[in-house]
């Protein structure tokens, strides 16, 4: 279903059924045929409508309406504090565990309302790599890699070994740790820990992978490997990646969303966002005039 490449994610297209409540102003590119979709197309795995998150009543993000496509990587860019992580964490119900957080609006996973699904199921289907590496310090490297499998009740040793190797390979860590899998995860460097966290997220084979600045702690070589991995994963996963690195966004993503001060300013195909942004704020940001 990736034929609709020319379709650009705007609220008008994907949510023609519920846009009446959303203010029209912020969203950008509107160049494709509208009115085509009464329901999200099949290629849109995950759609958010009029999403808002507030912490203790202070709005962090608001009026976010966009969709994430199957087999594509969507980059979220924007200055620090604009709400990229907050948006990402809303997608897999991570805000549930923060008592002060209140999420409003709609998130649909394959047409099903995420807010009404069982949170554990949601998170099994939507994996996440966090901004800061957070391996389990009480576990070995191996146990970290397969922690998610164990949470899901898989105990067969041979399978665990197989998956551990496979996912550590994917996250470009295997060669460095294959002889020390029993050692504590905290004996790894920060960048290695981050790659371990990526492996841990891949091991449970989520359908959608949310990555919050996954390479900010990595060197150029490991970064290149992770970017390669994203390219590879795209064929079977839906990927959402937050990044501060414009080149990275340009390299790995098919779609880009630019956020500013808690709002979605512009979203569209990465190429057109970078070559031909419709909003001045976007242009200023990607050309480095602020942020």
């Amino acid at each position: 279903m990736q034929r609709h490449d020319d379709l650009i994610m705007t609220e008008e297209q994907t949510h023609s059924d519920n846009t009446s409540s959303t203010p029209p102003a912020e969203t950008g590119v509107k160049k494709s045929d509208t009115g085509q979709h009464d329901a999200p197309t099949k290629s849109e795995r995950l759609t958010v409508g009029n999403l808002g998150v507030a912490f203790s009543g202070n709005s962090a993000i608001r009026n976010i309406t966009m969709s994430f496509r199957d087999g594509k990587a969507t980059a979220i860019i924007g200055p620090s504090g604009c709400g990229k992580s907050t948006l990402l964490r809303a997608l897999n119900r991570m805000h549930d565990i923060i008592p002060t957080a209140k999420v409003t609006g709609e998130i649909l996973l394959d047409g099903e309302n995420v807010m009404q699904m069982d949170a554990v199921t949601v998170r099994r289907r939507i994996g996440m790599v966090f901004q800061k590496p957070n391996p389990f310090p009480t576990m070995s490297i191996f146990d970290n890699a397969v922690a998610g499998l164990r949470f899901n009740g898989i105990t067969k040793r041979s399978l665990l070994k197989e998956v551990a190797e496979e996912s550590l390979m994917k996250s470009a860590l295997w060669d460095e740790v294959k002889d020390r899998l029993k050692q504590p995860a905290m004996s790894l460097s920060g960048g290695q820990q981050q790659r371990l966290c990526i492996a841990r997220a891949l091991a449970v084979e989520p359908e959608i992978l949310l990555m919050d600045e996954p390479t900010s702690a990595l060197d150029p070589i490991a970064t290149a490997k992770i970017e390669e991995l994203i390219h590879e994963l795209k064929t079977s996963y839906t990927i959402v990646i937050v990044t501060h690195n414009m080149q990275q966004a340009a390299r790995v993503s098919d779609y880009t969303a630019f956020m500013y001060m808690g709002e979605l300013v512009e979203t569209g195909k990465t190429r057109s966002i970078f070559t031909n942004p419709t909003k001045k704020q976007t242009e200023d940001y990607i050309t480095g005039r602020f942020g």
């Binding site: 998170r123 996440m128 389990f136 310090p137 009480t138 922690a147």
Partner: protein, 379 residues
């Protein structure tokens, strides 16, 4: 430079044991200011734990103590602070040495007469001047371990509830109530125990147990009397629950949110995420256990009132027993002969050593269970 980590190593160990000396002196001097000792013990334990974890780090290669000490020499303020720290630990060392010396020298008479037999002998007969402390050692260790076994699951359960389940308001109120329990003087617990708890345990727990299993299991042999090892264990459990609970709660609160998030993001259930938090908090929970054990081993007043004070070893937990702290408190004023007094002081010495040994064992136990990931004990 080389012997400095060693010095800190020793300091940390001693710091974390200081509370027990406090308890022993406390019980010898017969005062009952519980709330305050609990807090000072806690401070000591936490300081000790922190240093311990630094030492663990030093052994595993990431030496924070070493770098700290290295830098300490470079600045005046640091040097002053360093000197103060050394001074503080020297004061503690000296206090401990002083107490040990005092106990050993005051019990010379009985040490010389009974030797090792003091520990193994079961006769405690002031009339015949024959003293053996085995029943007291047994009573102290068994009542404390039973108390701990009852208190530990409950305490961790309460802490999990406070940290992971309850909202902020409930947590604040419930925490306050739990901590209030720690400030109740032990004599109040004892009196409550005598009039309320002991009859209840005798009727509702002891008698049914003795009736059903008394014949077949020696542990529950009847007749179930009120004041017993079981009563002592229950009252000790009630007294140490606030200690273990509040330390476990504090340590769990200090575990970063990112650990829970990591678990949740992998599709864990709440319970699995809580297990991760508990695993992270295990060294702190151990600190709480050791502190609770220290309190239980040295507890005097409440136990004396409910344990029955009978200097015989009985395999049944429904029978009365006697503890080291209780015998000191009960008989210190009646100790008319020098030998009697000396024997009682030796009981104090044994109590001190028992506390040492039990804590060492507790540490070893946790260490051996978790050794494979020892360096992971830190965040």
């Amino acid at each position: 430079m080389n012997n400095k980590p060693l010095l800190t190593d020793g300091m940390a160990l001693i710091l974390s044991y200081t509370p027990y000396y406090a308890i022993v002196t406390h019980c010898l001097s017969g005062c009952a200011g519980n709330g305050c000792t609990v807090f000072s013990q806690r401070t000591f334990i936490i300081a000790g734990q922190l240093l311990m974890s630094d030492i663990i780090a030093a052994r595993s290669g990431t030496s924070s103590v070493r770098t700290l000490i290295g830098e300490a020499q470079s600045r005046i303020g640091d040097r002053v602070f360093y000197a103060l720290c050394v001074l503080a630990s020297v004061v503690i060392l000296a206090t401990i040495a002083g107490i040990l010396f005092q106990l050993v020298s005051s019990s010379q008479l009985s040490i010389a007469k009974f030797g090792f037999g003091f520990l193994t002998g079961s006769t405690w007969d002031p009339v015949m001047e024959e003293y053996g402390a085995r029943p007291f050692i047994y009573g102290t260790v068994v009542s404390s371990l039973m108390g701990l076994a009852l208190a530990l699951p409950l305490s961790i359960g309460i802490a999990v509830f406070l940290v992971e389940v309850a909202g902020l308001n409930v947590r604040t109120i419930a925490s306050f109530l739990v901590e209030t329990l720690a400030a109740i003087p032990s004599v109040v617990y004892g009196v409550w125990g005598v009039f309320v708890m002991v009859p209840f345990i005798q009727e509702k727990v002891g008698m049914p147990l003795a009736e059903k299993f008394g014949e077949s299991i020696p542990l529950f042999a009847g007749p179930a009397v009120g004041p017993s090892l079981l009563s002592a264990a229950v009252i000790l459990a009630i007294m140490i629950i606030p200690i273990i609970t509040s330390i476990t709660r504090d340590v769990m609160l200090a575990i970063p949110m990112s650990q829970r998030e990591a678990a949740f993001a992998l599709g864990s259930t709440k319970w699995e995420a809580i297990k991760i938090v508990i695993a992270n908090a295990r060294w702190g929970i151990l600190g709480g256990i050791i502190l609770g054990l220290g309190r239980a081993l040295g507890e005097t007043m409440a136990v004396t009132l409910v344990i029955g004070n009978s200097p015989y070893i009985n395999s049944s937990i429904l029978q009365p027993s006697y503890t080291m702290a209780s015998v000191i408190a009960n008989e210190f004023t009646e100790a008319t002969s020098d030998m009697y007094l000396s024997a009682l002081i030796e009981v104090g010495l044994v109590l001190l050593i028992t506390t040492f040994v039990v804590n060492m064992l507790a540490r070893f136990l946790v260490w051996s269970v978790t050794r494979r990931s020892i360096a992971g004990g830190r965040q």
